[in-house]
C-alpha cells in the first residue's frame, strides 16, 4: 500500500523524531561537565537506569530480527531469550555493583576506563577499546540492516526500485543515523533512551495483543502452524528445525555474553546512588520480558497468517514485522509500532555512536598515553567513520539481522565478559590474563565469522563463532591467571581493592 495512503505512519515517525530532538536539546542544556556528558551526571534513579539499559540492549534485533529469525528456524530462536530469566541478576551480582563503585573512586566513564582502573594496564585497556570499536561496527551494521528493511517496506522501494531498493533504503537509513548521531544522538543521551524504552514497551505489548487477535487467538495461531505443511509441528518444537548445537550456542552466547555488552554496562555508571541497584534486576528483567512479547507475538502470528493463506510467503524472513504491520495492523497501531521500532533502533544506535566516539576520543589515546585536542571534532569524525563502515557491512552482509546482531553481541561478550565478570570479583586475575583473554575473544570471533562466511569453515556459522570465541576467552583468562597470578596475587591499588571487597 503506498505510503501516502497511510499518513499516520509517517506522522508517528515525525513526532518520534521531534520528541527525541526536543529531549536532546533539553538534555544539552543540562550538560555542564564531562560527567554530565558521558554518564548523565550520575543522577539517574533505578527506573530510568533500568529502562535506559533495556532500550540500549534491545534494538532492531528484537523488533525485526527476532520475528525474522523465528520465521526461518521456528521457536528454536527462543534460545536467545531463554537466559533473560537470570541475566539481570547475573549482571547485578557480577558487574553492576563493582562498575558503579569503581566510578565512585575513579574517573571512570567507559568500559576500557574500568579495565584500566582494575588492571592498571594500558595494553588491556587498549585491547578492550579495539574490541568495542569492532563490536560497535557490527552492532550498528545490524541496526542499519533493520532500518533499511523497515524503510524499504514502508516506502515500497522493492516494488519501485527492484534490487536497488534495499541499498537505497540503507542509504536513507544511513543519512538518518548520521544526522541523529552527529547532530543529536551524542547530546540526547540517556534521557531519550528512557523515552524510547517506554515507547518500545507500549509498542511491544500492543503489537503482541493485536497479532494474537489477528491470527485468531493463541489456540488458533499455534494450531494453524502445527497443521500447515509449510511449517508443521516441528516449527513449535524447541529443537525442531535447527541442530541442538546451534540452539545451545545461542543460549551460551546470550547467557554469558551479556556480561560484556558495553552499551548496557555503561548505563550502570549512571545510577545516582549505588544502593539503588537493589531493584535493578527486577526492573530490567521485567521490561525485557515485556519487550520480548513482540518477538513471540509476531514470531507466531506471521507464520500462522501464512499458513491460513491470509499472507503470502515471505521473500525475506526479516520482512515478517513490516509485512504484518503494513498488511494487518490498524493505522494507529502501525504508527505506534513504527515509532517503537525506530526507538529500538535509534536508542541502540545512539549508544554505539557514543561508545565509538569515546573509543577514538578517550580510550585509544589514553591507552597510547596521549591526549587528543579538539575532542568534539574527532568524536564526530569517529561517528561518521564507524557509521559508514557499519553501512557497508549492512549492504554486503547478505543474511538475517539476528545473525549479524549475534556476531556483534558475541564479539563484545567474547572480548570483555571474562575480564569483567571474573576479573572484578577475583583478585588473582592479572593484567596479562585480561589482555590475552580480550585479544583471543576479539580475534577468534572476527576470524571464525569471516572463515565461516567465506565457506572455508562452512560448519562454523550462526552463533558458533561467538560461542567458540567466548569459551576460548574464558579458558585463556583462567589459564593465564593460573600461570601468572596463582602463586602471588597482583598488587591492587587500595581504592580498587576496596571496590572488590565491598
Amino acid at each position: 500500500m503506498p505510503i501516502l495512503d497511510r499518513p499516520l505512519i509517517v506522522l508517528s515517525a515525525l513526532v518520534y523524531f521531534l520528541a527525541c530532538g526536543a529531549l536532546g536539546v533539553w538534555s544539552l542544556r543540562r550538560t555542564r561537565s564531562a560527567r554530565d556528558f558521558w554518564v548523565a551526571g550520575q543522577g539517574l534513579g533505578v527506573l530510568f537506569t533500568g529502562l535506559a539499559t533495556m532500550a540500549a540492549a534491545f534494538s532492531g534485533f528484537v523488533f525485526l530480527g527476532g520475528p525474522g529469525l523465528t520465521y526461518r528456524i521456528g521457536l528454536t530462536s527462543l534460545f536467545i531469550n531463554l537466559s533473560v530469566g537470570f541475566t539481570p541478576a547475573l549482571l547485578g551480582w557480577t558487574v553492576a555493583k563493582r562498575l558503579r563503585l569503581l566510578a565512585e573512586v575513579r574517573e571512570v566513564y567507559t568500559i576500557p576506563d574500568a579495565i584500566l582502573a582494575r588492571y592498571g594496564s594500558r595494553a588491556a585497556s587498549g585491547a578492550a577499546a579495539v574490541a568495542v570499536l569492532v563490536g560497535s561496527v557490527g552492532y550498528l551494521g545490524a541496526q542499519l540492516l533493520a532500518l533499511g528493511t523497515l524503510i524499504e517496506a514502508v516506502l515500497g522501494l522493492r516494488a519501485s526500485l527492484g534490487a536497488w531498493g534495499f541499498p537505497v533504503a540503507v542509504a536513507i537509513g544511513l543519512s538518518v543515523l548520521l544526522f541523529y548521531g552527529v547532530a543529536g544522538g551524542m547530546m540526547a543521551g540517556v534521557y531519550t533512551d528512557v523515552f524510547q524504552g517506554t515507547l518500545m514497551l507500549l509498542a511491544a505489548v500492543a503489537v503482541f495483543c493485536y497479532a494474537m487477535s489477528a491470527g485468531g487467538g493463541w489456540g488458533h495461531v499455534v494450531h494453524s502452524i502445527a497443521a500447515s505443511p509449510r511449517f508443521g509441528r516441528q516449527f513449535l518444537e524447541p529443537l525442531g528445525k535447527t541442530p541442538a548445537l546451534t540452539a545451545l550456542g545461542f543460549f551460551f552466547v546470550f547467557g554469558l555474553g551479556v556480561l560484556g555488552q558495553p552499551h548496557m554496562l555503561h548505563k550502570f555508571y549512571m545510577i545516582k546512588d549505588p544502593r539503588r541497584l537493589k531493584w535493578l534486576p527486577l526492573v530490567l528483567g521485567g521490561s525485557q520480558v515485556l519487550c520480548l512479547l513482540i518477538w513471540l507475538g509476531l514470531g507466531l502470528a506471521v507464520p500462522a497468517l501464512v499458513a491460513q493463506g491470509k499472507l503470502a510467503s515471505l521473500v525475506r524472513p526479516d520482512d515478517a514485522t513490516p509485512a504484518f504491520l503494513l498488511g494487518f495492523a490498524p493505522e494507529p497501531l502501525a504508527g505506534l509500532a513504527v515509532a517503537g521500532i525506530l526507538a529500538a533502533i535509534m536508542s541502540t544506535a545512539d549508544s554505539f555512536t557514543n561508545l565509538g566516539a569515546a573509543v577514538v576520543v578517550r580510550d585509544l589515546p589514553k591507552a597510547l598515553g596521549r591526549q587528543l585536542s579538539r575532542e568534539l571534532l574527532w568524536g564526530r569524525i569517529a561517528t561518521v567513520g564507524v557509521t559508514l563502515a557499519a553501512a557497508l557491512l549492512a549492504v554486503f552482509y547478505n543474511d538475517l539481522i539476528a545473525l549479524l546482531g549475534t556476531f556483534a553481541f558475541g564479539t563484545f561478550g567474547a572480548a570483555l565478559a571474562p575480564s569483567l565478570a571474573i576479573g572484578l570479583n577475583w583478585k588473582r586475575v592479572t593484567a596479562k590474563a585480561a589482555t590475552a583473554s580480550i585479544v583471543t575473544g576479539t580475534v577468534l570471533c572476527l576470524g571464525l565469522e569471516i572463515l565461516g562466511r567465506q565457506k572455508i569453515l562452512p560448519h562454523v556459522s550462526g552463533p558458533l563463532p561467538a560461542a567458540i570465541a567466548l569459551a576460548a576467552s574464558f579458558t585463556v583468562l583462567l589459564a593465564v591467571t593460573g600461570l601468572t597470578g596463582w602463586r602471588r596475587a597482583p598488587n591492587l591499588d587500595d581504592d580498587v581493592l576496596a571496590v572488590m571487597e565491598a
Binding site: 564531562a34 530469566g85 557480577t94 573512586v105 574517573e107 541497584l277 537493589k278 565491598a502
Partner: protein
C-alpha cells in the same frame, strides 16, 4: 550444554559471595539450578518436545512459561532481598568512598 548452565551459576556465586559465604542465597541459587536442570532435560530428552500443553510441545511451553519468568522472579527477588546484607550495606559504601584517592576528580572536569 553444561558450560552454558554451570558457568552462569558459578559466576553468580562468585559475584554474590561475601568472604566466601553465600548466606541464605544458596537456596534460590540451588532452586534455579534444579529448575534449569529439569528444563534442559525436558528440552533435550523429550521426543519432539513431548506432549502438547496450551497447543505447544511441553518443552517449548516450559521455555516460555517457566524457564524465563520463574528465574527472573526468583533471582530478582533474591538479589533485592539480600542486597542490604550481602550486596552493598551503607557501611560498605562508606568504606569505598573513604578509599577514594584525594586527587581523583570525581564529578568530572568542567567542559
Amino acid at each position: 550444554m553444561s558450560g552454558g548452565v554451570v558457568l552462569p551459576l558459578a559466576l553468580m556465586v562468585l559475584g554474590a559471595a561475601r568472604r566466601g559465604r553465600l548466606g541464605r542465597l544458596w537456596l534460590p541459587l540451588v532452586a534455579i539450578a534444579l529448575v534449569f536442570a529439569f528444563g534442559w532435560w525436558a528440552i533435550l530428552a523429550l521426543p519432539q518436545g513431548g506432549p502438547d500443553v496450551a497447543g505447544l510441545p511441553l518443552a517449548t511451553a516450559l521455555m516460555i512459561f517457566v524457564l524465563i519468568p520463574l528465574p527472573l522472579v526468583v533471582t530478582g527477588l533474591a538479589y533485592a532481598l539480600t542486597f542490604d546484607r550481602l550486596g552493598l550495606a551503607p557501611e560498605d559504601l562508606e568504606r569505598v568512598r573513604s578509599a577514594r584517592r584525594p586527587e581523583t576528580p570525581v564529578g568530572g572536569a568542567e567542559t
